[in-house]
């Protein structure tokens, strides 16, 4: 499938990702209800980090574009260097979905290259509670027509 046309990372890229994931409503419903404010932080080699906000509310997914962390008040933030994000996206685009080494869980498990931070334990654990849904959203970068159900 064609990669997302907008450059990564940009508000338009995340908007298109969410539009692709939302297109298969029945897949989202099969994955189940999710409620989370997720911050995705991309740390460029030079310059300040950029955070993009995604909100899951029931079966709905909303991309809030680039956000200020304080105002967005994410429950959990996944943060990592831009080249690691790019590598994950390239893997998804090449394989149709993340391969074993490039899932959100595998990239965060040791704290490298991605770290997970949260204001409290509940926010932190939400990242695990909705892992299947979050992975399906990112996998939509590789499969615009049919979102993996994670099942």
């Amino acid at each position: 499938m064609a990669p997302i046309a907008s450059p990564f990372h940009s508000a338009r890229w995340f908007a298109e990702l969410v539009a692709r994931a939302s297109a298969d409503q029945s897949a989202m419903e099969r994955l189940g209800i999710a409620e989370i404010r997720l911050g995705l932080e991309i740390v460029d080699a030079n310059g300040p980090p950029h955070m993009y906000g995604i909100v899951l509310d029931g079966y709905d997914i909303e991309s809030l574009g680039e956000v200020m962390e304080k105002e967005f008040a994410p429950e959990v933030v996944v943060s990592g260097p831009a080249d690691a994000w790019q590598e994950m996206i390239s893997s998804i685009e090449a394989n149709g979905s993340a391969d074993a080494a490039h899932t959100l869980n595998s990239l965060t498990i040791t704290g490298l290259p991605f770290s997970v931070r949260a204001g409290d334990a509940m926010g932190h654990d939400k990242f695990f509670r909705y892992m299947g849904t979050l992975q399906a959203i990112f996998d939509a970068a590789g499969t615009p027509a049919t979102v993996s159900t994670g099942r």
Partner: protein
């Protein structure tokens, strides 16, 4: 008649003479209209009117729904948990809905046909871990089931959530049993120390004690282990098993954490009781960290073989142990129970974990 069969009424109703007391003299909230929200008609949507009021102390011990008109001579069903704070959590209604909507099938959703033939040591290690997991998962169904019938029906949402947990744990038991039997390894060894921890949960004298031991301590550890399944899994099949179980487990831990928080918010004086429960539980957990049937298969799977395990597996074990203990401390803290510096775990296990050593409290 012992049950008070009203023969007069039988005869009158057979003649078409109805009582209609339930219709004319009810105090029900006629006209109540719960409105569905985006995902459908949820438990939160119907928590309105007198039905939506959950009493701090249940006035009766019956199965009558809140908000219904109740006969004055209903029998006492003998519930022993009649205070809301004993079982409630603020996220209960949402967790129930989430649990129902995020169910999966260990038969259909795991690509069993894709299991590759594995090196015999790896297959053995995976099956040993699956044996332990299949063994411990069901206690998280047995424990809620043991207490379910004692919980007053005014707190039915807590009962309903625990029912979803019973179903989740049945599936976890199922999926690990299936894994042990699906790829040549078969079931491994069950160890006494694991059974002792399960016994501690099952024999807990109160729901408070058992819930702290299970929802917070035991399931917290299992959640971290499922998460680590990412680097323990010899194939994508196990990764999927661990990931799906992880989502369920995080719900159970979310209930346990928020329940304890609700409990302690309303009665901070019982914090020491909970510390005592966890002191006891952690002592057994320390023994589990020293149980070859658990430590060794984990190290072998993480390292990718017996020979590599002594070096790589030990390092991976340390990362996991730090994660398990660190996350447990944070959950306790969020619940309002600060275990920093007072863990009943030996120094060798907690060294390097932020906040775990006694001087953290200094």
């Amino acid at each position: 008649m012992a049950l008070g069969l009203d023969l007069d009424y039988l005869e009158r109703s057979a003649r078409g003479e109805f009582d209609l007391g339930w219709l004319r003299n009810g105090h029900s909230e006629w006209g109540v209209h719960a409105k569905p929200s985006k995902t459908g008609l949820t438990m939160r949507d119907i928590a309105i009117g007198s039905y939506g009021e959950v009493p701090d102390h249940a006035p009766r011990r019956t199965m009558a729904p809140r908000g219904s008109d109740v006969d004055p001579d209903v029998p006492d069903l003998g519930y022993t948990i009649n205070d809301k704070a004993e079982v409630w959590s603020d996220n209960l209604l949402d967790l129930y809905e989430e649990a129902v909507s995020r169910q999966w099938s260990a038969t259909r959703d795991i690509p069993w046909g894709d299991l590759p033939e594995l090196d015999p040591d790896i297959e053995h290690a995976m099956c040993q871990l699956a044996t332990v997991l299949s063994e411990v998962e069901m206690v998280a169904a047995d424990f809620p089931a043991k207490w379910l019938w004692r919980i007053n029906h005014d707190f039915v949402e807590a009962k309903m959530f625990l029912c979803t947990q019973v179903m989740d744990e049945a599936r976890h038991t199922e999926v690990f049993r299936k894994r042990a039997l699906a790829n040549g390894g078969g079931l491994g060894r069950s160890s006494a120390v694991v059974e002792r921890f399960l016994q501690l949960i099952l024999d807990a004298e109160s729901y408070d004690e058992g819930s702290a031991l299970m929802h917070l301590l035991g399931e917290g550890i299992v959640l971290s282990l499922f998460r680590a399944g990412e680097f323990l899994s010899p194939s994508p099949v196990e990764k999927k098993i661990f990931r799906l179980c992880m989502q369920d487990e995080a719900r159970h831990v979310a209930y346990g954490t928020m329940h304890l928080r609700y409990r302690l918010d309303r009665d901070p004086s019982i914090a020491e009781d909970f510390h005592a429960y966890l002191d006891k539980g952690e002592e057994i957990i320390a023994m589990i960290f020293a149980t070859p049937e658990i430590v060794e298969p984990t190290a072998i799977l993480a390292a990718g073989g017996v020979e590599q395990a002594s070096e790589l597996g030990t390092a991976a074990g340390e990362v996991m142990r730090h994660q398990i203990i660190g996350e447990y401390l944070k959950r306790c803290q969020h619940a309002g129970l600060d275990r920093r510096g007072r863990l009943h775990l030996p120094e060798v296990l907690i060294q390097g974990v932020p906040g775990a050593m006694p001087e953290a409290m200094a």
